[in-house]
Symmetry: none
Subunit: 168 residues, 2 copies
């Protein structure tokens, strides 16, 4: 297994048709996370766009999506929590696939939603990756909400301290 996490950050052009290259490293993760994937074919991707609160696109593998769907099915059918999740992950989402040349097509609706003109940023977050408009990305990453329990000036690696399950 080559790579199982989405790691890294990169900028890509978005053309007039909404086509945008997926970082090559991410494509491999997508292929590995697609149960239907066979050599030479094109892996599928799930793009979650959510409602107005989200100003980026959350992308994941089919396997990750399956896991979420299974979790939802275990929740009480009419609970507000389940409905909120269903709306976000089933309604406000899109299943598509990487094309022959390694690109993804973002429909105009999604491009407008997150304010992409002609360039996008891909940001790996481990299990998922995000797509941002370059402008939004640069603004959002500088101001971190003033949470009580959170010090923006502290090096994040501090949060890793303690409680190790040791493995490989």
């Amino acid at each position: 297994m080559s790579q199982q996490w989405f790691i890294g950050e990169s900028h890509h052009k978005v053309d007039t048709k909404g086509r945008v290259s997926i970082p090559a490293a991410f494509r491999k993760v997508l292929a590995a996370g697609d149960p239907e994937f066979s050599e030479g074919a094109n892996p599928q991707v799930v793009v979650v766009y959510g409602d107005a609160r989200r100003d980026y696109l959350e992308c994941m593998t089919i396997k990750a999506m399956n896991k979420i769907q299974r979790k939802m099915l275990k929740m009480p059918p009419a609970s507000p929590q389940r409905r909120a999740l269903q709306k976000m992950y089933s309604t406000q989402a899109l299943v598509t696939s990487v094309d022959e040349t390694g690109r993804l097509v973002l429909p105009a609706k999604l491009r407008n939603k997150i304010g992409i003109s002609n360039e996008a940023v891909f940001a790996g977050t481990g299990e998922n990756f995000q797509i941002w408009s370059t402008e939004t990305y640069e603004i959002e990453n500088g101001l971190v909400t003033g949470d009580d329990d959170f010090d923006p000036d502290l090096d994040p690696s501090h949060y890793l301290f303690g409680d190790d399950e040791d493995e490989e």
Copy 2:
């Protein structure tokens, strides 16, 4: 199997005869969920309209309907629960099929019930999909009932936290 869930959201015109295009992605799911489906034919759909409490149409594949019918058969025959389910899923429902051009015909009765004038919204919810009138849909989605345990401002992904069945 290309896709197993109804995922996505889209708007479609409803003409004077009640014809409305089904999103192409949904048609594939319907075909996959129709045991009688053969290449080149038209898949069947189940439309559950229910009673006055429902202001949208719930649609599903034949397979999903079979599953529901089997569940009902296991319930005590005269129980109020079974009767209520039967009324909804057997009486207040409609089995029809997608036409040659990928459309569904909604009888006037159903269009009136959910208040469709000339545009409908299709909303995937995973196992099923819903059909709404555009107006109702927009109203209904913005006000979420003020449940105690539920914060409409919280990003829904929080509800996924914890309790991982690992995995695959």
